[in-house]
């Protein structure tokens, strides 16, 4: 049993390839998380313009990409775009799919955060001469982000997990590399390694999230 799932020789042999997968997963996360945050912030800022001509298309956009399964979106981009004469490669497709999908989720979180800041805050800021943008930047956003920090972190956790979808379009991230190693060694040990690594990088985030959530609860009391 241990020989099958936790074979030491195989761990040693698969180490470099799994590590390179880990590195790519980290790299991918460092790209898609800021990209999603950025996309989400833009969506939320647009939503704060309460004009119907902005609001309705925006809602449609956000709804659409939240309803669309991210795996399907990714495969569609990867397999479909070449037929439109656009060959982007796996990495770019992952980046775009995440920008669309997780950006919409982040956008809803930011929007809820902005809505949670009382209107009196903006009025006070505007009454001292701050512009709409300055009031947003210095007064509303800092409070908005603080109010939804647990949700932002929770979504980020999901995003990091979702980077494993990259394996489907041959992005050499952790899961993909582990499967490569598995097929080379005819042994599941590399997959177990990947599972353990996922757990090790995500667990601290989960702990942090629990603490934030508890603090938010205590603050509300």
């Amino acid at each position: 049993m241990i020989q099958t799932f936790f074979n030491l020789d195989i761990i040693v042999a698969a180490w470099p390839i799994v590590m390179s997968g880990l590195w790519n997963t980290i790299l991918l996360s460092l790209i898609v998380v800021p990209l999603g945050l950025f996309g989400g912030l833009i969506l939320a800022l647009l939503a704060s313009i309460r004009h119907p001509l902005v609001r309705w298309p925006l809602m449609a956009w956000v709804d659409f990409f939240r309803a669309f399964p991210p795996l399907v979106l990714l495969v569609l981009l990867f397999a479909g775009l070449p037929f439109a004469g656009l060959e982007l490669g796996g990495f770019a497709c992952v980046a775009i799919a995440f920008f669309l999908n997780t950006g919409s989720y982040y956008g809803e979180i930011f929007r809820a955060g902005i809505d949670s800041v009382p209107n009196g805050q903006v009025e006070a800021a505007r009454s001292t001469g701050l512009s709409r943008m300055q009031a947003m930047r210095y007064v509303v956003l800092p409070q908005a982000v603080r109010n939804v920090l647990p949700d932002l972190l929770s979504n980020t956790l999901e995003v990091v997990k979702l980077t494993s979808l990259g394996s489907v379009v041959a992005v050499p991230e952790l899961l993909y590399e582990a499967r490569q190693a598995q097929s080379l060694t005819y042994n599941p040990t590399p997959i177990v390694m990947a599972a353990v690594i996922y757990f090790l990088i995500l667990w601290p985030l989960v702990r942090l999230l629990s603490r934030l959530e508890n603090r938010a609860l205590a603050g509300r009391r």
């Binding site: 805050q121 009454s127 001469g129 210095y138 007064v139 800092p142």
Partner: protein, 247 residues
Amino acid sequence: MVQKHIVEARGIHKHFGPLHVLKGVDLQVDERELVFVIGPSGSGKSTLLRCLNRLEEPSSGSVVVDGIDMLDPKTDINHARQRIGMVFQSFNLYPHMTALGNVTLALRKVAGKSRAEADTLARKALERVGLADRADHTPGQLSGGQQQRVAIARSIALEPRVMLFDEPTSALDPELVGSVLEVMRSLRETGMTMIVVSHEMGFARNAADRVVFMDDGLIVEQGPPAAIFENPAHERTRAFIGQIQRH
């Protein structure tokens, strides 16, 4: 030459959808004057104040403050608003900043002061409201009365020509009201022009030059405090004064 009013609002109407909230209000305020605005809840007092600095867009009418046409689209409204301080019932301090940060924000971002200049001016303003020693406290660490005084400091640091107060003491515990009124009184002594919506009758009697009674979107009558309180000309004013004095 005719004395120019520092605040000159004429024919202000304000609709919220089907609701006709201001029905043609004229308000002129002289420099250094303290005008008290009283009236039943919902009569449009807050809306009137908010039209003066254009937090609310009047449906029609004109507002000129310190020679600036507030409703002209060409007016730089953010620049104009620096000259009109506003104090709110619920303080509206920025909870994520210290008292000092609350006061310096507009000094730096609107008035264009350096951090050092802004700090100096903000500390001076906090000193004027008696809170020099609370500069590094966040609003959550301050009492309601202290918060409202920081809010006043946030406005006066910009050296406004006019100050608008919208029920500045209504959200305060009775024992904290005095400290805020004290600050307002000292502000008055420096010659600040003030428009105050409040039902602090004692303060009005002592400090106000004029009391304006509003009802149902209109100014019903106005005059010196003694005249309005002792000898109102209108039945509605009489009824309202009687009501709040019974409290």
